[in-house]
Symmetry: C2
Subunit: 222 residues, 2 copies
Amino acid sequence: MDEDRPKPPMSPEGTVPKAVVSRLSLYLRELQHLVQYGHETTSSTQLGTVLGFTDAQVRKDLAYFGQFGYPGIGYRCEELIAAIKQILGTDRSWPVALVGLGNLGRALLRYRGFGQQGFRVVAAFDVDDAIVGQHIEQIPVYHLDQLTEVIDELEIRLAIIAVPSPEAQGVATLLAAAGIVGILNFAPVTIALPSSVKHVEVDLAIELEQLSFAVVNRSEKT
Amino acid sequence: MDEDRPKPPMSPEGTVPKAVVSRLSLYLRELQHLVQYGHETTSSTQLGTVLGFTDAQVRKDLAYFGQFGYPGIGYRCEELIAAIKQILGTDRSWPVALVGLGNLGRALLRYRGFGQQGFRVVAAFDVDDAIVGQHIEQIPVYHLDQLTEVIDELEIRLAIIAVPSPEAQGVATLLAAAGIVGILNFAPVTIALPSSVKHVEVDLAIELEQLSFAVVNRSEKT
């Protein structure tokens, strides 16, 4: 699918605004839907309309990474999917460690959306002797004490934290020391880490705030 | 705290870009942290630095809603928190319905972050007779058949869907018919609804994609 196409260049300064990168994920999802529904090509107008952006925004975002459209055709969906995956680094499969197997951790083990985008949870960690040594959702559960060893052995670079808030910082520090370079933190607490470790805090209330904004502004217009 | 300050005006066209609204949530969180750590005032530079935006971006975003800074002082944290909450509609408490009490639903019931921002889950719904009629995390669990009646009685406007993907559309349609106007959908599937119902699809893989982008671009620079 990739045909030895040269790697899309970054912007001249080598930095891309975060908002552009997060829109890439949205474009990717929409392109994947289009392919599911049998579309072979699309346009910046079509992509933009579905997602609520202008066609100019779509073109400008993609232009950070190269030239993807064809005159008179638009974008070839499969080709643009492959290019965006390469840009996002999801053209490969990422083994992921999950720490914490309470309700949230177990829900994340079952979450299909990760696997669909190339993220495979390959090891789970907890301190509960009742589950350590078992498999949950076919994933082996290790004791937290084995973290460094397992991460090293399985060459894991990304991890998800789903432990209670008071434990989150300790786990994050352990993960960083074990060589993890990207952390997705679901504990509703900010963690401090060396700048070499990228981390994203998932704040689920933000989505509800966006909804309440939409609802309030809708109500007040009627 | 609100002192009858006039409601902040919207932009002349009455529309604010979605990205600006989502940054409001980030400013709010950071201001809440600052207050926790004893800060009474802040600046666009300080807010921007922590969040990775320029100070100009911060000022421009806030300017959509009014004039909040004071010469020689900057922003008064508590005052700006109150203003942003009013803009987002979280200056009030929102009762929320949660549908689906599998692992994810139960994790969401325990999630502290919602309550901290004014969202209270007041009713949960499932079809499992083993839990209908019980309380989980002190929240009453009703049968899905009671949805319309309970939503009406408790005057609920927002709902969270945490059911398996195949059930999500049916539940969404039920919720819309029951008078729900904002839906947060955790099922990894796109739902179709009348445009009068706002809905946000939570796609947890997007966060991992952002991480892999950061990690790939970090690795390739070293």
